[in-house]
């Protein structure tokens, strides 16, 4: 029973890391370390961005296995850090499996910030990016409006059943159309505005993760993430191109 709890906690930790877009080796090492901390020495895990298999061979010859398919991946860096500190406490013995399981579940059920707030921060980021690319106050405001629309478009698009992988196409399109339309009226540097508005959409995390996974020898996952990054960049570019061709 204790072993069941331990492997559940380790599997949940790995699952949380994968769902929050952590690196593969982090998910693998965390699960193995947590198993070790709970006294399960012969643990083996294989992780991909889309799922993992965790297997523990017990001393009496039986074995425990957990298989999880990871479907929704979001970016929540703070959660990665929390899982890290939970696993650390499990390793040094100051946290048992039951507590770790509860802490992980609490972490996973934390509500994400309201979309209006996200749209606001997206707008601020977009505005500053457009200033970074040589825009002025006018460009800041225009890019902020475009960026806010890009983020605000996510919930209605999700309700319409748009797949997550196509989301950046529609977001980039919404941002570009909005800022192009506004620029028809008030003018401004098109380059700074549109680039600023799409900058926060670009797959920076996917690129860094692809590099780090490949470096650690997780070749399959590295390639998968590189493809993800490339696809997302192409979709954003396509969204902008559609808007420009209108």
């Amino acid at each position: 029973m204790q072993a069941e709890l331990a492997i559940d906690a380790a599997a949940l930790a790995a699952q949380t890391i994968l769902e929050c877009s952590g690196e593969i080796y982090r998910a693998e090492e965390t699960a193995i370390r947590m198993c070790g901390g709970f006294g399960l020495q012969n643990a083996e895990i294989i992780c991909f961005p889309t799922g993992f298999t965790l297997h523990v061979k017990m001393k009496d010859g039986t074995s425990l296995t957990r298989i999880k398919r990871v479907r929704d991946r979001t970016i929540r860096l703070r959660a990665l850090d929390e899982v890290n500190s939970i696993s650390r406490r499990c390793c040094d013995g100051s946290m048992d499996a039951q507590t770790a399981l509860r802490a992980l579940e609490a972490l996973r059920s934390e509500p994400s910030p309201p979309n209006a707030l996200k749209a606001l921060v997206f707008a601020i980021a977009a505005g500053f990016f457009s200033v970074m690319f040589g825009g002025g106050i006018k460009e800041f405001v225009l890019a902020a409006i475009g960026g806010a629309l890009a983020q605000a478009a996510v919930p209605p698009l999700t309700r319409l059943g748009v797949p997550v992988s196509l989301m950046s196409l529609f977001c980039a399109f919404a941002a570009s159309v909005a800022s192009l339309g506004l620029m028809e009226i008030v003018g401004g540097s098109q380059e700074a505005v549109i680039t600023g508005a799409i900058m926060p959409l670009l797959p920076g995390l996917a690129i860094t993760n692809a590099v780090r996974d490949t470096m650690r020898g997780d070749l399959v996952s590295g390639m998968a993430r590189a493809t993800e990054a490339l696809l997302s960049a192409v979709l954003i570019a396509a969204g902008v191109a559609f808007a420009l061709m209108l």
Binding site: A79, L80, V131, G134, M199, L205, N209, R212, L244
Partner: protein
């Protein structure tokens, strides 16, 4: 003066981007400063492929170092510190030329953009490789999971 404003904008942009990715609050200051640093180097070196390489190498090394000193995961720092360097402008210009059916310029800018992304990936690889065998134990209880 203009350049100064652009650099300050890079600072705030990477801070806001970090918030968007739900980055831990105590890392925000470091990442935006490293992001600013990278962008300044990038501008000073004249926005060439070499500038991409050097500036993101500096960003990568600084992030690895900060992550080890603070005992946190490197990714937490890397993502929003590198974002000012991601060639969004090149991406946009490529699409602009494509939409105008100016294909020769589109190919030129497209290749430039791809080179930029490649340079960033390469330098991050090098930064990770340099640090992958180094463990800085700031505190005695440091575990090697970083």
């Amino acid at each position: 003066m203009n350049v100064l404003i652009q650099c300050l904008a890079a600072l705030f942009a990477s801070a806001a981007f970090g918030w968007l990715l739900a980055q831990p609050k105590q890392t925000m200051l470091y990442t935006s400063l490293i992001g600013l640093n990278g962008y300044v180097i990038f501008l000073l070196m004249g926005q060439t492929a070499m500038a991409y390489f050097i500036s993101s190498l500096v960003v990568g090394l600084l992030c690895e170092l900060t992550a080890r000193v603070l005992r946190m995961a490197t990714t937490l720092f890397l993502v929003s510190a590198i974002i000012p360097l991601v060639p969004g402008l090149g991406l946009y210009r490529t699409m602009m030329y494509l939409a105008q059916e100016n294909f020769s310029m589109a190919v030129t800018t497209g290749v430039d953009t791809l080179t930029g992304i490649g340079a960033i990936a390469l330098s991050l690889t090098i930064a990770t490789a340099i640090f992958s065998r180094i463990r800085i134990n700031v505190r005695p209880d440091a575990s090697p999971a970083d």
